[in-house]
């Protein structure tokens, strides 16, 4: 078991048994990417997929604390570099799920 993982190791059985759900989401991501790039011609809109991409990653594999920190830091750097701090907020699922998991650990330890 990976000690750094927020949750247990990825369970391949889960993914094999539920592949249609991430599959449907991937179809959606591909369609939105094509629309953003081909029809609207604004590649920057691809950033709007980021919150969902993080949640799909959480669903299909275990994310470590390092992943959450790296994701948040990445968007903070993007926000700083572009001087547009709303880009930093695109990382919102990482801190939200990290907090939820920290609460989860506390509640599980409580008698």
């Amino acid at each position: 078991m990976n000690e750094r993982a927020i949750g247990p190791e990825p369970c391949r059985e889960d993914l094999r048994g539920n592949w249609e759900v991430p599959g449907a989401l991937v179809i959606m991501l591909v369609v939105l990417t094509i629309l953003d790039l081909g029809w609207i011609r604004q590649p920057v809109l691809l950033l709007s997929l980021a919150p969902l991409v993080y949640m799909i990653l959480l669903g299909v594999r275990s994310c470590t604390w390092a992943t959450a920190v790296a994701w948040t830091t990445g968007f903070a750097v993007l926000g700083a570099a572009t001087w547009n701090w709303t880009y930093a907020a695109l990382a919102w699922p990482a801190p939200v799920f990290a907090i939820l998991h920290a609460v989860h650990r506390l509640v599980r330890k409580a008698p």
Partner: protein, 252 residues
């Protein structure tokens, strides 16, 4: 029909076919048909609810789908299909996340997580959909200021609440949540749903925040609290049907 709308709707239909296949494999034919029939019905009810609230409160309809979107009477079937997609996908992606990161929690936590996931779906779809004019929000819509690209507050608030409430009602009716007595369980679930869906009917002449928004946070926090502490009798048969027992027993 505009080509981008046709492309969007055909891809959404393909995704829905995948999801129906998942439901069929997971729950069997009867339950899959029941669940998708229920989701289609509730998506339609949701759209009619929005129209009725607008008419009764003399407020403009918050959004108008493009005329090229598939319609059945006053209801845009493209939007209804979107609710089916959102509710189902969010709920089962929430189950996947829960099995990895929040083990030992129950169906109420799944519902709370599904609201968060729906927000992610909503943001991605709205940002692109608004620019393509798949639908247009009313002129005076307010926007979520802390995120880029202009996400309307109605979408931020409405999408998550819709998938949460639809799946809460389904789980209550199907798995007898809240009470072991079937009619009492149905009564509690339906009351929670009707209270939320009907809250905005009382806002005629009301200028402040829409009444349903006073319910969103208590519903979400309530679900998280019950996700940890709900007694077994409140969970009905959800643990068996949705694989919570197996999750605890299985070593990944």
């Amino acid at each position: 029909m505009r080509s981008e709308i046709a492309f969007f709707q055909l891809s959404a239909a393909a995704a829905l076919v995948l999801l129906f296949r998942h439901a069929w494999r997971t729950f069997g034919r009867r339950d899959a048909i029941l669940l998708f029939g229920f989701l289609l019905l509730m998506g339609t009810v949701r759209e009619l609810d929005v129209v009725a609230i607008s008419q009764m409160t003399d407020k403009p309809h918050p959004f108008s789908p493009d005329a090229a979107m598939a319609k059945l009477g006053p209801v845009s079937m493209g939007v209804v299909g979107g609710w089916v997609f959102c509710a189902y996908t969010s709920f089962f992606l929430a189950r996947l996340i829960q099995r990895r990161s929040l083990r030992g929690t129950n169906v109420f936590m799944t519902l709370a997580l599904s609201a968060l996931i729906t927000m992610g779906i909503s943001y991605a779809v709205e940002v692109t959909g608004m620019r393509l004019h798949l639908w247009d929000w009313e002129q005076h819509a307010s926007y979520v200021g802390w995120l880029p690209f202009g996400w309307t507050f109605n979408a931020f608030d409405g999408w998550a609440a819709t998938s949460f409430n639809i799946m809460l009602l389904w789980c209550t009716l199907r798995y007898k949540l809240f009470s072991p007595v079937r009619w009492l369980s149905a009564l509690v679930g339906t009351s929670l749903f009707v209270l939320f869906a009907g809250a905005d009917f009382v806002q005629k002449g009301w200028s402040g925040t829409a009444p349903h928004m006073f319910l969103s946070i208590p519903y979400l926090l309530g679900a998280i609290a019950l996700g940890y502490r709900a007694p077994a009798w409140m969970l009905g048969s959800s643990s068996n049907h949705l694989g919570f027992e197996q999750t605890r027993a299985r070593s990944c």
